[in-house]
Amino acid sequence: MAAIAQSGFREPNLLMKMASRPTAMAGLLIIIAMIVLALLAPVISPYDPAQLAVRNRLQPPSWQHLFGTDDLGRDVFTRVLYSGRTSITVGFAVVIFASIIGVFLGLMAGFFRRLDAPVSRLIDAMMAFPDILLAIALVAALGASATNVVIALGVVYAPRLARVVRASTLVIRELPYVEAARALGVPTPVILVRHVLRNLTSPLLVQATFIFANAILAEAGLSFLGVGISPDIPTWGTMISVGRQYLDQAPWIMWFPGGAIIITVLSLQLVGDGLRDFLDPRLAKDV
């Protein structure tokens, strides 16, 4: 027993665990690559994403234009990179916004018995709506803008997080270390953050990864349907929406943003799967 304590044994960290799972690790590397490409867009591409060159319109992929050009002669490769900035940023913002609402609701429902029934019913009601439909309704009500898309999707995905948080909170609430804190007279908000929230970061992280993937897909869907971010900001969804009209003449306008969505979402799902395998409290040995 003392040997364990004295050897300074440490549990393998997240990255080491990820490395043992090639698919999750591949997903993570691709995500990082996508983010780096999006960030370095101005360095990588010599073109301006909004630069019109009508004489160059509908050019197939070439060394000049790796992914070809679109109906207004803009470089598709450049636009895919810049769109990645919007799509990934919106996805991430949705995760943050949904987490704030979801964690709050979940903690309240899970920790305070009296709030459980009303909050849980609210969550159920929200989840009864189809995701995209609810998002469209919210964006329609709020007006189409990047901020409102984030708010709408955040509201759509918050109930999922709230459920996960509530379920874990119900378990953690009964653990002796929470009771010990109560016996010491630690204020309830401190117990909620220090003892409950800190011990549900694992399921939260897993769920957040999946919501990240879903949010990118949903944002593309909204933009495709024309109820998302304004068309002059390039996103993968708007690119596909435009490309659809030229599908038979210039299919590359649609292929490449579509491919970018597939790769990003798939990679995030792989990361989420990997994380769930070793972080989910029902499978993990601690918690």
Partner: protein, 323 residues
């Protein structure tokens, strides 16, 4: 065993009752009309099988579960009558050591943070003095102070239990509920932790309620013993007296089933048959009568009063006089 320092009890529990109302409207009678006293500087053992309500009784006294009725006069104040805010100020005087050393420490907090949280509760200032205090507490429970930056998973069960004890002691409590503190530990480690508790109790003048299902542990550590069955007190009194002359058939049965390190000793008693009845629907009259070897019809009629039979010895059995 320590000599009593003061005759007025530090804690008087009177008529403690805890009912849990289930979703289907049925009531679980977890603790029913439990009374006992704990004198300053002494240890009282609370024993009984699983399901006897001993843990619920211990937690109710600290109001970790809200009692349904009764009083707990702690140092002159009925702590059951305090509102939650007033109770917060009293909490540092009453602490608890948990049964499971694994789930009683937050896995994400380092040892100094776990003990530090207890120091915060006392309003202990931050800085070098605080680190000294943490080191002092770790030394007190027999752990090297260098361990303070480690996480709970780096320790064994016995070491974790020591950390749990250090956390409880950090607020300098007068009274500690030890809820089966060694039953989750290896036998080889149990004695170490028990000795630690005994030493600390003497050194710090602690008053302790020691909850256990193991009678030999209680005999070793406790001045007085309270035997519970299905939420009620069956017998209570000075350990020596209860162990030498158990008066309640349940206590007799418990003592008879306790292992004695003597292979030549013959079993004098039939061990208890069957399981403890459901606390949702406890037997009428004496709750023990369904498993009692000497039960008579009258046992089903009235709940036996807790009779005083000399010294501090009390027993709740209508036949204690004749048997």
């Amino acid at each position: 065993m320590t000599q009593p320092m003061d005759e007025t009890p530090l804690l008087s529990v009177r008529g403690l009752t805890k009912h849990f109302v289930g979703r289907n409207g049925r009531t679980v009678h977890a603790v029913e009309d439990v009374s006992f006293d704990i004198r300053r500087g002494t240890t009282v053992g609370l024993v009984g099988e699983s399901g006897s309500g001993k843990t619920t009784a211990g937690r109710s006294i600290l109001r970790l579960v809200e009692p349904s009725g009764g009083q707990a006069i702690f140092d002159g104040t009925d702590i059951f009558a305090l509102n939650p805010r007033e109770m917060k100020d009293w909490r540092k005087r009453l602490q608890i050591v948990f049964q499971d050393p694994y789930s009683s420490l937050n896995p994400r907090m380092r040892i100094d943070a776990i003990i530090g949280e207890a120091l915060d509760a006392r309003g202990y200032p931050r800085g070098a003095k605080r680190r000294e205090r943490i080191a002092e507490l770790l030394t007190l429970v027999g752990l090297p102070p260098e361990y303070s930056r480690r996480f709970p998973h780096e320790f064994s069960g016995g070491q974790r239990q020591r950390i749990g004890i250090a956390r409880a002691l950090a607020v300098e409590p007068d009274f500690i509920v030890a809820d089966e503190p060694v039953s989750a530990l290896d036998v080889s480690v149990q004695a170490q932790v028990l000795n630690l508790l005994g030493d600390l109790q003497q050194k710090l003048g602690l008053t302790m309620l020691f909850i256990a299902h193991d009678l030999s542990v209680v005999e070793y550590l406790c001045d007085e013993v309270v035997v519970m069955y299905l939420g009620r007190v069956m017998e209570r009194g000075p350990s020596r007296q209860v162990y030498a002359q158990p008066r309640h058939p349940y206590t007799k049965a418990l003592l008879a089933t306790a292992p004695v390190p003597d292979p030549t000793r013959k079993r004098t008693h039939v061990p208890l048959q069957g399981d403890i009845p459901s606390p949702i629907n406890p037997p009428s009259g004496c709750v023990f009568r369904t498993r009692c070897p000497v039960a008579i019809d009258a046992c089903a009629q009235t709940i036996p009063p807790v009779d005083h039979i000399g010294g501090n010895h009390h027993v709740a059995c209508i036949r204690h006089g004749e048997l």
